[in-house]
């Protein structure tokens, strides 16, 4: 299957909530088991979850309960041992590496706890990165979209800096700008404030809330911070690989 036929061309974020309740991603009976020669670890046990367009969902739970594994499966970075992942109504388990990569590139933006910026690239080059893997986007368009994304996160004055010259909060803003540059429908944030102090954490949280509120970006966030989780529209709790609320 040609990856470009899997979905429509990326469009600007919706300006209204008219599209709410359309599922962006649906997980059905997801199981993830890590198997070694001697031990079998169940990371996810029969998880059913639907994320709707425009939602801001937070996932909480103790360390090792399977939150990050769930996020990896939602982000098509990992395969479930059993169950079905559907993106916009299409099951993806039969997709090739190329098709999955194209889906990730067009539909999903990632924000990580440790930012995962490339230290040898400038802020602008880091933000442009997802567009490098998108055929048909010219260099000029890449620049423009990267500048626009950096403007959104308030870092347009830092385009030529390198990650090492930025504070933790600024780095996370760059990571968010990188996720935004591809104009994804879904942002998966894995403990985005986990490495930041409370003030910077608050800034990042406000930024994510603003993106969801103003641009209608669907966000799924894994967090340990109850206060931040309560600010989102839906809170899902996990324990020992199962959804408990």
């Amino acid at each position: 299957m040609n990856a470009t036929t899997l979905f429509s061309a990326p469009t600007a974020a919706p300006s209204t909530r008219a599209t709410a309740f359309q599922p962006v991603i649906e997980l059905r009976s997801i199981e993830k088991v890590y198997q070694t020669k001697t031990i079998e670890t169940v990371a996810l046990n029969h998880v059913n979850l639907v994320i709707h367009k425009g939602e801001f969902v937070s996932i909480m739970g103790p360390s090792g309960c399977g939150k990050s594994t769930l996020l990896s499966i939602m982000g098509l970075l990992d395969e479930p041992t059993a169950g079905v992942v559907e993106i916009e109504g299409r099951a993806v388990q039969s997709y090739s590496d190329k098709e999955l990569a194209a889906l990730r590139n067009h539909k999903i933006g990632f924000v990580f706890q440790s930012y995962h910026l490339i230290n040898d690239l400038s802020v602008l080059d880091n933000v442009e990165l997802p567009l490098l893997y998108r055929p048909g986007v010219s260099g000029k368009e890449r620049r423009e979209r990267a500048y626009a994304a950096l403007d959104k996160v308030g870092l347009s004055a830092r385009t030529n800096h390198f990650p090492g010259q930025l504070s933790g909060g600024q780095r996370q803003r760059v990571a968010i700008a990188r996720a935004l540059a591809g104009r994804p429908e879904l942002i998966l944030a894995d403990e985005p404030t986990g490495n930041l102090d409370s003030v910077m954490g608050e800034e990042i949280m406000e930024l994510l809330l603003g993106l969801n509120r103003d641009e209608g970006t669907t966000i799924v966030m894994v967090t340990h911070d109850e206060q931040q989780a309560l600010k989102t529209q839906r809170l899902i709790r996990f324990f020992d690989g199962s959804q408990v609320s």
Binding site: L77, K98, R104, N105, H116, P130, Y133, R178
Partner: protein, 397 residues
């Protein structure tokens, strides 16, 4: 993407410096060795100007016979050998026979032009013995014995050096001591008496049928002959020749060798240092390859998080592999750029006295080899990078 790779490598220039330096030195070593090999190959494939198969060399020791009697004995011996079954032609010669380690050269002048030329001595049958081809004129004959000026047969290189585009036949040529010679023939090819690895150089043959220089009786040679034998000749002919020499000369000692044997000895001596250089160079390149392989492997293990990130934002496994391969190619390009800059100085400064086309061919060969080497070294680590599981790599940090 290419611009991205160049940006990445440029921004990592300090980290990549040693890799660039390693590639630079590997290139320079390959270029120098390549220049020597290509130059030797060019010489090897150029025409020798003579054939050596079925040609025997007979060195004789007069065993105390007075010099005044040696010449007559030598002339008589040649007549006897020519008459022997199995012998096709016999020519007197001097010490610098084909493939020998004896050189003789002198300065010749013709009008305003002059050249340093290898000088060879050949009897009247030498043309047949060595299958020398003439482009114009003739070879030596017995009538040249009474010629006003001693005759010369010159090679194409000598003709070009002394006469440029003008006719050479009949022209007078002088040595530095003003001895005059007359050109009677021009060879159709170069003549490279020292063998396949001799550089092209003007060559001139002068007639030699006697051991003693007629104009200077103190100048004489040990008797030496070149004989073209029939292709069917065996060791039995060698024995007969030895006996014939002993019978005709009254006890001269004889050593018979063949030109193919002489050539083999010469080749061994020419190829041994080249083989040594290739071996040392091969060892160096192998070490460079191991180094590159190790560095690339280490790089990939250090950049697992980056690989995970790139996979997360839309890179396929093959794209990751291509990126790492591309990075190595960019680093190689930087190393080669510096290497080519240094290599370009060789022809400009005339470092090894090799012709420009040889340098250019060596630059091309060394460039291709280095690209192939680095691509091979990068292939497996790049495949490893492609196999990194993004979910795991992103969680590691």
């Amino acid at each position: 993407m290419i611009r991205h790779l160049f940006t990445l490598i440029w921004n990592r220039k300090r980290a990549n410096f040693l890799l660039v330096a390693e590639i630079f030195f590997a290139f320079v070593v390959l270029f120098v060795l390549g220049s020597l090999l290509v130059d030797n190959n060019r010489k090897y494939t150029a025409p020798l100007g003579f054939t050596y198969e079925h040609v025997w060399q007979i060195d004789m020791d007069p065993n105390g016979q007075p010099i005044s009697r040696q010449d007559a004995t030598f002339q008589r011996l040649m007549q006897h050998l020519k008459a022997m079954p199995g012998v096709r032609s016999v020519a007197a010669t001097r010490s610098n026979t084909p493939f020998s380690f004896s050189d003789s050269s002198t300065e010749f002048k013709a009008g305003s032009k002059s050249t340093s030329s290898d000088i060879y001595s050949g009897g009247d049958d030498m043309q047949d013995v060595l299958s020398l081809e003439l482009a114009e004129g003739r070879w030596f004959t017995p009538r040249d014995e009474v010629a006003t000026r001693p005759p010369l047969v010159i090679s194409q290189e000598a003709r070009e050096a002394l006469f440029a585009n003008e006719p050479a036949l009949g022209k007078i040529v002088r040595t530095q001591d003003d001895q005059e010679f007359q050109v009677v023939g021009v060879l159709a090819t170069p003549y490279r008496g020292r063998g396949e690895f001799q550089e092209l150089k003007p060559a001139i043959f002068r007639r030699s049928e006697s051991l003693v220089d007629p104009k200077d009786s103190t100048n004489f040679d040990r008797p030496r002959l070149l004989i073209r034998v029939q292709p069917t000749a065996t060791a039995e002919l060698e024995q007969r020749i030895t006996k014939e020499v002993a019978a005709v000369t009254g006890g001269w000692k004889t050593t018979v060798t063949t030109l193919p044997e002489q050539r083999a000895t010469r080749m061994k001596l020419a190829l041994a240092p080249m083989g040594g250089m290739v071996l040392v160079c091969g060892f160096l390149i192998f070490n460079v390859a191991l180094g590159l392989f190790g560095v690339l492997w280490y790089n990939i293990s250090q950049r697992r998080a980056e690989i995970g990130l790139r996979r997360a934002i839309g890179a396929t496994g093959s794209r990751i592999s291509a990126q790492f391969l591309g990075e190595v190619m960019v680093v190689t390009t930087f190393g080669l750029a510096f290497g080519l800059l240094v290599a370009a100085q060789f022809p400009l400064l005339g470092v090894m006295g090799i012709q420009l086309p040889v340098y250019l061919a060596s630059m091309g060969l060394a460039t291709i080899l280095i690209y192939v080497l680095t691509a091979i070294c990068a292939f497996y680590p790049s495949r490893l990078a492609a196999g990194v599981r993004p979910a795991v790599a992103l969680r590691e940090e």
